[in-house]
Symmetry: C2
Subunit: 483 residues, 2 copies
């Protein structure tokens, strides 16, 4: 009865919230946390600790922060440290002074401009210009609280304010990082799902894109296409040709391109190279070079993995000038992204240069992380492909493997009985028996009748080897149990 | 023609974005920034610098950070500093260690749980329990990126997913901090505006609340009431009696209470005391004590003014347990609020204790800021009330004065001619002639035919005196020009 008096009940709750899902932090993670607590309280388990391979949380799995980033951050935080001789390298001090000069009142405790401190946006533009070989403008850089917040801000602009078949349609890959489906659900937009081609290294087939959009036209007004490159959860690095195809498709269909390029530093495979959508568009010439594009970047991935600082930005080009003003207005009520996250981003895009004292250490730390990731990407790919009933595309980039598992009919039935998807059933069993926490493929979307899971390649090499050993044993046990 | 090819034009842009406004960072601020640049480039103006009294940005106007906050922050940022003997007080080191222990991998660079680090939420709950004399539970504390982000998250839950008269109605004060109207516009909800009683120290009259909600029922489904206490932009501190009246009203009407209590440390007037909505509800007993309530707090205001760190939290009580789970799910896709902002909040709610080495300095710095604000609140109130044609309620709390100005008919006509509201016309003239940037009352809402502006009391005392002197001269000049 007490419940009847609540304003918010499951009946009155925003229905968009009810349908929204975000698998990366879903029920399996809750169970993993519960298991951790059981272990802490002395429960006996077939494993001694839980390995959270569900989320791309670099420092959580033991990666060390890049020294120069944290030195600059400490200095801007507590400028008294600038007075001490010898404790901090000169380039860290100079950078900190530059950032503090850009802050109102010389404090990172003041609000920045809503799109971020101009001095930092200039550094970002310089980084992009150098990366692509094409000019970039600080006025097109809009910083955000992680990339997610920037993505939401752009999708907000694209909504139609209409319901039913007038809804904004946003094309998203399947499988996809579930932020997109979550935001689309929350905003009552329409997800136009296109399947990545697993047989061809998770590439985007234009025929599939065309098929998906033509099916969707009855249900929505298509406005944009999301492409995640390097792929999450799929780990592919798109070829330049594939990017060109997508750009042509978007032009034909009148779509805004949302390029999620947060893993741009995470390229491992021989022959793979990162091309930004902007670079490819610019080099395709008109009419492609003046298409509207938002490219997203984050401080949370790459070699730095500074997730907790929530640094991110979007480069948004070719906007109608009046729309640009509305965009700036729309982000102003959020006041500004965290200034410490902005400072982290500044160091990422403008690292120490060869003549500066911190250069060597920075490069060494960066290369160490990336080299480890490169080895682990290969280790994981090879291991999964060595197991019967599992196939795994090469982890060319990003931080995840997304292997395909053939599940026995009996396992599929057993999953049905307990009301789980077959891959969730598999991942829960994996967690209970080995302590390895992964995310079921169904949380990202997958072709009907196929089953996957996402596992990060982040645990330290030795631990990862051990994890993969336990995984293999589990898999064989699971197969024999349900065969 | 090129414009025709854009996906996003003023015609296709989300209509909710178009109607959204956020006056605190509106056109007058753009003009102030332009003036600053003109001055920098040597332009001759009747003033030598622009005083941005438009926004509650404490450090921007010269307030110094609290040492202990920044020491703890520097230590968690760059834990190498923990090794140095003597550079940092022991209590700062201990606090930093406690926070790092709560972080995955011992790094503030890892993601926290979506509602924030448990250890910090426990400190927040302890702070609230001590403040109110009633228990508080860490599981009811949900940290956010500034208070704004937390407010948006709760309003999201309250939306109905319907259009027209099925829209969610959210009661907001007039005048109000325009975050609320901006979020309501963005989310296509319905603002139920109720007028604060300027004649009675900006109190909430229940008759006005009843009038507003009954008028609105034809247009929406009323779901919640927003109360800002201490008031922004109005500077009042609600009496306990007034809070009780509002709670009874909300109960009768079946409304969720959103209590914006970010200025809870900013109480200046003799006889004024801060009562939290939670405390009053709890002490009213059933059925009031089990009403749904969200109270918001920020690291950006109070005595610390750490706006740039974007720290904030909501205490959300008496939620239906299933709704609570949905709420937690709904914030999970944002991953987590900035961990450095969480750390700032930890120090605010759990400051050094009398036996600890940093206690004296912390208290001294805190009291200095608050004592200055107290004096400035009085200074501003007295000054405005000494000017003919201006009346100003006592600034009892928060950081703003919101004086009422009588404008001559000729000024009102002149404003019409240039397409401005009369108070925007006045504020622009003030800016051009004195360099003082304020926000026109129309940006917050005001009774028809009345004119106001919001000015912060943040500039340092001497500067504020000077500013107020220039203001007075301007006002008299303005009056004589249009009389």
């Amino acid at each position: 009865m007490a419940n009847d008096k609540k304003v918010l009940t499951m009946d009155s709750l925003n229905p968009c919230v009810k349908i929204m899902e975000y698998a990366v932090r879903g029920p399996i993670v809750d169970r993993a946390t519960a298991l951790e607590n059981e272990l802490k309280n002395g429960a006996s388990k077939p494993f001694t600790r839980v390995v959270k391979a569900n989320i791309g949380d670099c420092h959580a799995t033991g990666q060390k922060p890049i020294t120069f980033i944290r030195q600059v951050l400490a200095l801007v935080t507590y400028p008294e440290l600038l007075m001490k001789n010898g404790d901090f390298p000169e380039d860290a001090k100079n950078r900190a002074k530059k950032i503090l000069d850009a802050c109102k009142g010389g404090s990172v405790g003041s609000y920045s401009e809503s799109p971020g401190l101009l001095a930092i946006r200039e550094d970002i533009a310089a980084y992009i210009a150098k990366r692509d070989g094409h000019p970039s403008n600080a006025s097109d850089i809009i910083m955000s609280t992680g990339a997610s917040d920037g993505i939401k801000a752009i999708i907000t602009l694209l909504l139609t304010g209409k319901d039913g078949s007038g809804k904004a349609g946003i094309m998203i890959p399947v499988p996809q990082y579930p932020l997109y489906s979550a935001v689309i659900a929350e905003f009552n937009a329409y997800p136009i799902r296109y399947y990545l081609n697993e047989e061809n290294q998770w590439s985007l087939d234009v025929s599939e894109l065309k098929h998906a959009i033509s099916e969707a036209r009855a249900h929505c007004v298509p406005r944009a296409i999301v492409v995640i490159n390097p792929g999450n959860p799929t780990g592919q690095v798109l070829t330049r040709q594939n990017i060109e195809d997508v750009i042509r498709f978007a032009k034909e269909e009148g779509l805004f391109i949302l390029a999620d390029e947060v893993y741009q530093h995470n390229i491992y495979a021989k022959g793979s190279k990162f091309f930004s959508f902007k670079q490819v568009m610019k080099e395709m010439g008109e009419p492609y070079s003046s298409m509207e594009l938002a490219s997203f970047m984050s401080a949370s991935k790459g070699f730095m993995g500074e997730c907790g600082y929530r640094g991110g930005y979007a480069e948004v080009i070719n906007l109608d000038p009046q729309v640009k003003l509305q965009y700036m207005k729309s982000i102003s009520a959020k006041l500004c992204p965290p200034v410490s996250g902005q400072a982290v981003m500044d160091v990422i895009v403008n690292p120490p240069q060869p003549h500066e004292p911190s250069y060597k250490l920075f490069e060494k730390e960066k290369e160490f992380v990336l080299a480890q990731l490169r080895e682990k990407a290969k280790l994981v790919t090879d291991l999964f492909n060595s197991i019967e009933g599992i196939s795994c595309n090469e982890v060319q980039g990003a931080m995840y493997a997304f292997p395909c598992i053939k599940l026995p009919e009996k396992a599929i039935e057993a999953a049905k009985e307990v009301g789980q998807t077959p891959d969730a059933f598999y991942c829960f069993a994996l967690l209970e028996e080995t302590g390895i926490c992964t995310v079921p493929g169904s949380g990202f979307g997958e072709k009907e009748g196929t089953y996957h899971f996402r596992i990060t390649i982040l645990p330290p090499q030795e631990e990862l080897r051990e994890v993969l050993g336990h995984f293999k044993e589990f898999h064989l046990r699971f197969l024999s149990r349900y065969s």
